[in-house]
């Protein structure tokens, strides 16, 4: 229950946060919503020397449109994602899957960026951004780079982020007109998925023109079910599968 001692920094801009991380080396941890990191620290499974709290960086929050893309700040909380009208309209799969994460109090603190950077294959949102073909934007000392969701999840609890990089935003192509569903099998309320499936289907003339299926907690990373996607392509009677 008692976390180990650590130094605490509270940068007020992304630039300052990145500098702080770069100076600290590998013993620093970013504190976002804290709903995964603090439980790990309370059990002393994680013991960073420096905790960099990015909760007071306004530029990391909020949802905006950029043409055909929805841009969600990494520190946007689950609650804010669920209630955001732009997310509901253009990325309904994300809104609906996020509402199954944990419980209301956890959703008030936990963030989209934190769920992705944690890279827990049991988390719901990694599979969802994989199905949505999202791009994850990271900022490091050398500037920003964009990482495709399919390249972001490297291994169990391991993402493509380097220790001096901060995930700043998630860019999601608008999925207007797609059918979607997140199906989660879990033991009790607020537990992680035993398994989960995120599915998107675009119909054309009564047939499936395109589908994307990603799987939660069925491997060390979220997985795309490519063979299933191909099998659905061109299939009729979309009502039966969507």
């Amino acid at each position: 229950m008692i976390p180990p001692a650590f130094d605490y920094a509270r940068p007020s801009s992304v630039d300052e946060a990145v500098r702080t991380l770069a100076d600290a080396g590998e013993d620093a941890k970013v504190l976002a919503g804290g709903q995964s990191l603090l439980p790990l620290m309370r059990l002393r499974l994680a013991f960073p020397e420096l905790v960099v709290d990015v909760n007071r960086i306004p530029e990391l929050r909020g949802v905006r449109e950029d043409g055909d893309t929805l841009v969600i700040g990494a520190m946007t909380t689950h609650h804010a994602v669920i209630t955001d009208p732009l997310v509901r309209r253009h990325a309904g799969l994300l809104a609906s899957a996020t509402s199954t994460v944990a419980d209301p109090a956890v959703r008030h603190r936990g963030t989209l960026g934190g769920s992705l950077a944690h890279a827990d294959p049991a988390g719901d949102l990694p599979a969802v951004v994989l199905a949505l073909d999202a791009e994850l934007v990271a900022q490091g000392p050398g500037g920003r780079r964009s990482i495709a969701a399919r390249d972001f999840f490297v291994d169990y609890l391991q993402s493509a982020l380097s220790p001096d990089e901060l995930l700043v935003e998630v860019r999601i192509p608008k999925a207007d007109g797609w059918g979607y569903r997140y199906e989660k099998f879990h033991r009790v309320a607020q537990s992680w998925a035993t398994v989960g499936v995120a599915a998107l289907v675009r119909r054309d003339d009564g047939h499936i023109a395109e589908s994307r299926i990603a799987l939660t907690n069925m491997g060390a990373t979220p997985l795309r079910a490519q063979a299933a996607e191909q099998a659905l392509s061109g299939a009729g009677d979309p009502e039966a599968v969507a």
């Binding site: 976390p3 504190l31 804290g34 709290d53 109090a105 008030h108 603190r109 607020q190």
Partner: protein
């Protein structure tokens, strides 16, 4: 040590705290506000639920330094001049507690739920309180108490 200034139940406190101090320990051990209990070490039970800047949070999963500059409401800050809130009265009248250990967090979570869904269905109440565990009641009377305050009919309550 880090300096914090935090308003709790209407009183502003200035303190020096270790960054690793959890908000729940700050409330209980430093301020003596023991109405907010601890029921687990994995962020599941919700017994420690308080309100931070208008939203329910699990105070065991938040550092005291993160509440710096914020406003915290605990169950002890709800009644005015000894007068119970509607929700507290409904928990009493509906027998929505037995040992009373989950009750502070349950009431704080229910308050949050009703703010967002003023007229929830029984199902919405159950979902809205899924972050709060109770060992005694079996939840039935808790749902009734919350629905009482939301002015749902008895018929809806029991279905």
């Amino acid at each position: 040590m880090t300096h914090i200034s935090v308003k709790v139940d209407g009183t502003t406190y200035e303190d020096e705290v270790e960054p690793r101090l959890l908000l729940v320990h700050y409330l209980r051990d430093r301020l003596g506000l023991t109405g907010t209990p601890i029921g687990c070490d994995t962020s599941n039970c919700g017994a420690c639920t308080v309100e931070l800047d208008g939203e329910s949070v699990k105070s065991c999963t938040l550092l005291a330094v993160q509440a710096d500059g914020g406003e915290v409401t605990t169950v002890q800050g709800l009644s005015r001049n000894g007068e119970l809130t509607e929700l507290q009265r409904a928990f009493h009248e509906r027998h929505a507690l037995q040992c009373g250990y989950c009750t502070p967090g349950m009431i704080m979570a229910a308050r949050d739920l009703l703010r967002e869904h003023p007229h929830p269905t029984p199902d919405e109440v159950r979902h809205g309180l899924e972050g709060n565990l109770c060992r005694c009641t079996g939840y039935q009377n808790i749902v009734r108490a919350v629905l009482d305050v939301s002015e749902q009919s008895e018929q809806e309550v029991t279905t």
